[in-house]
């Protein structure tokens, strides 16, 4: 790598850096195809290597916000999976809208019919972009449907894209490759599931039926006869997204009500279903005029294995937190410690994990919790900052925490964030609190 004399600071310079990388990667592809024309032996590996190297070079030159997150994480392996998941959510596959001819082709492939003949009307322009496709509005017999169509090739590219970033992730995060693999597997399997609309249909159907008793939640019905691996048809739900909803200045009462619905929805899934909609992204909820909450997009669903569930939710139990022996055992079973840890390291990590557990579990420890309290979130960030400055953590190369934690943590972070945006006060009584001896 070339030596770096100055840190690019201004926005323009940063943007230029990214453009340069973009151009370089483009150049790599051109190089690849040009070479390929003369030499059919040239492999894609060479291309991938060129790409990841250029990305890495650029990223490591950028000390600004773009890399701040990644750098912080490179020092705090425990937080890594979280950022990793966020970086590699399906959003990164967002593509320009599918052309209508491709929509027609996709319909013909799966139904042998064009969208025009399957529905009475089918809007040619997409009304929404979904994470890996787009949503069209369609009408049949007076009923309005939302038809989600997936961009072609996404499923195919998931694995190869993850392979492409892996060498770069290993270098940047200074993490053992084996440990990284564990997380990569988890992320990869979730991403691949997200591309399977047939699976999404089954799960949406199951979860919405099981949650139907929570008054105030609205789930669209799904239509297998108009769905396939790459097309998913459901009821069209009206409603506002979070930002638009907040712009209407809803009263505190309404905010609390919506927030409580969200909370109850997640709490029920975590503890009763042990299967959870693991993507609490603002785009997946619709605030409706009648005060109900529409839930869409069950692409990312995490099933919680019992052995993980029992240990993880023990950490909500005050008795467990108070008892050092049990707490140690629990941390141990959640893979927070590594066999190679020195006694001193164990002690440092133990203290850090205690603090983290206390901080993140805080909302559960009282009857109600005010999520509009920004100082709570500031504390979480400060704690993250603090962790990143602990030398022992900087030097350790092991990953800590179970792979199942990735999506569960992400769900809670997402939920906390939504509630913070809503500024809701929540009755945080939970369905689940695992006793110490479980």
């Amino acid at each position: 790598m070339k030596e770096q004399n100055s840190i690019p600071t201004s926005k323009v310079e940063r943007a230029t850096k990214f453009v340069q990388t973009g151009a370089k990667i483009g150049g790599n592809y051109i190089k690849y195809y040009a070479k390929k024309a003369f030499d059919s032996e040239l492999t894609k590996e060479q291309l991938h290597e060129d790409n990841s190297k250029d990305v890495y070079d650029t990223l490591s030159q950028l000390k600004g916000s773009a890399l701040k997150v990644a750098q912080m994480l490179s020092q705090d392996k425990n937080m890594l999976p979280q950022a990793y998941v966020d970086k590699f959510t399906m959003a990164q596959y967002s593509a320009p809208p599918l052309s209508y001819p491709l929509v027609v082709k996709t319909f013909q492939k799966y139904f042998g019919k064009s969208p025009d003949s399957l529905f009475d009307t089918f809007e040619r322009n997409a009304s929404n972009a979904a994470s890996i496709g787009q949503v069209h509005k369609a009408i049949k017999d007076g009923k309005v449907y939302a038809v989600k169509i997936q961009y072609p090739g996404v499923a195919e590219s998931v694995s190869s894209d993850l392979k492409l970033v892996k060498p770069f992730a290993v270098r940047l995060l200074n993490m053992k490759e084996k440990d990284l693999d564990m997380y990569m597997d988890e992320v990869e399997s979730k991403l691949i599931e997200e591309t399977d609309y047939e699976l999404e249909l089954r799960r949406s159907d199951e979860i919405s039926k099981q949650c139907a008793h929570i008054t105030g939640l609205v789930f669209p019905a799904y239509y297998p006869e108009y769905s396939s691996k790459r097309i998913l048809t459901m009821d069209w739900l009206d409603g506002l997204h979070m930002k638009e909803f907040l712009a209407t200045n809803p009263s505190q009462e309404v905010r609390n009500h919506i927030g409580q619905l969200l909370w109850d929805f997640y709490d029920f899934q975590m503890h009763q279903l042990r299967t959870v909609h693991a993507d609490p992204h603002p785009g997946n909820f619709l605030m409706r005029k009648d005060g109900t909450l529409g839930v869409i997009d069950f692409g990312c669903v995490k099933e919680i294995p019992d052995e993980f569930y029992n240990e993880y939710f023990k950490l909500l139990n005050k008795e467990v937190i108070a008892d050092k022996t049990i707490l140690l055992e629990t941390f141990e079973r959640l893979n927070f410690f590594d066999a190679e840890d020195t006694p001193k390291q164990r002690e440092i990590f133990f203290d850090l994990f205690c603090e983290m557990t206390r901080l993140l579990g805080l909302p559960f420890h009282a009857e109600t919790f005010d999520f509009s309290d920004d100082s709570y979130f500031t504390k979480i960030y400060e704690f993250g900052e603090h962790i990143s400055n602990v030398k022992e953590i900087k030097d350790a190369r092991q990953a800590r925490g179970s792979r199942h934690g990735i999506y569960i943590n992400r769900t809670y972070f997402g939920l906390y964030n939504l509630l913070n945006q809503l500024g809701a006060t929540i009755r945080t009584k939970s369905y689940g609190e695992v006793p110490a001896e479980a």
Binding site: S99, Y100, P101, L102, K109, G153, E156
Partner: protein, 223 residues
């Protein structure tokens, strides 16, 4: 064993059609892994006289050309049978052409992949049978581009816009190559490649930042 006379084997009832000849030829190439040695030998497998071949084609080469031409014509027929096609923009028409073409090509995939080893190679390019439909395709592409100019999707530029059709032909060859190498399920990667390639080309043919750059440059030089 052969007790019948040759005449008794001949299907004298009906003349053989060009399509039958093409289909049999493709099957022969796929089953034997090579071109027939001679027209005579090929016609013998059909129990036909050699002369019947010449009623339609004067060589295997012209037959191979006709395979490509047939694919092109079938694509156009399919396109025009779709009601929605006429209402498309030029960009959508071209996309639609590619998707339909690839659909038709699928029926000939083995043949195309197999023969590509000797007839689609760059050194053999000038005499490749695929060039058979170059001219008609250029005409088609030209009509799309003119339509695009009328609808302001495509900008007229000196020299360049007269050659857009040839660029589209090169793009078509790129799509073909991509599809032949595509190992994704249902050739989904090809769909994505088509989408991206056509979007890029129409974005370039339309009003782009380049026009503004050239315009600004001209202004500076002219003072």
């Amino acid at each position: 064993m052969e007790t019948h006379t040759e005449e008794s084997h001949q299907h004298t009832s009906e003349a053989i059609s060009a399509k039958q000849l093409r289909d049999t030829f493709i099957e022969y190439v796929l089953m034997n892994g090579k071109l027939p040695q001679s027209v005579f030998q090929f016609m013998k497998t059909l129990n036909r006289r050699e002369s019947e071949f010449y009623d339609h084609y004067n060589s295997f080469k012209s037959l191979e050309k006709d395979v490509w031409m047939g694919i092109f014509e079938e694509t156009l027929t399919k396109l025009k049978s779709e009601e929605v096609y006429e209402s498309y923009s030029a960009r959508e028409k071209l996309l639609s052409f590619y998707y339909t073409w690839i659909e038709v090509l699928k029926n000939y995939r083995s043949y195309i992949v197999h023969t590509s080893k000797f007839s689609l190679r760059p050194d053999n390019w000038m005499s490749s049978p695929i060039k058979a439909f170059r001219e008609p395709f250029l005409t088609y592409a030209k009509s799309l581009i003119n339509e695009g100019i009328e609808k302001n999707e495509v900008v007229k530029r000196p020299y360049l816009s007269d050659n857009y059709d040839k660029l589209v032909w090169m793009q078509l060859m790129f799509v073909l190559k991509f599809w032949m190498d595509d190992e994704s399920r249902g050739f989904e990667r090809t769909d994505a490649a088509i989408e991206k390639a056509v979007n890029l080309s129409f974005d370039l043919m339309g009003n782009t930042v380049l026009d503004s750059v050239v315009d600004f440059g001209k202004f500076l030089f002219q003072k």
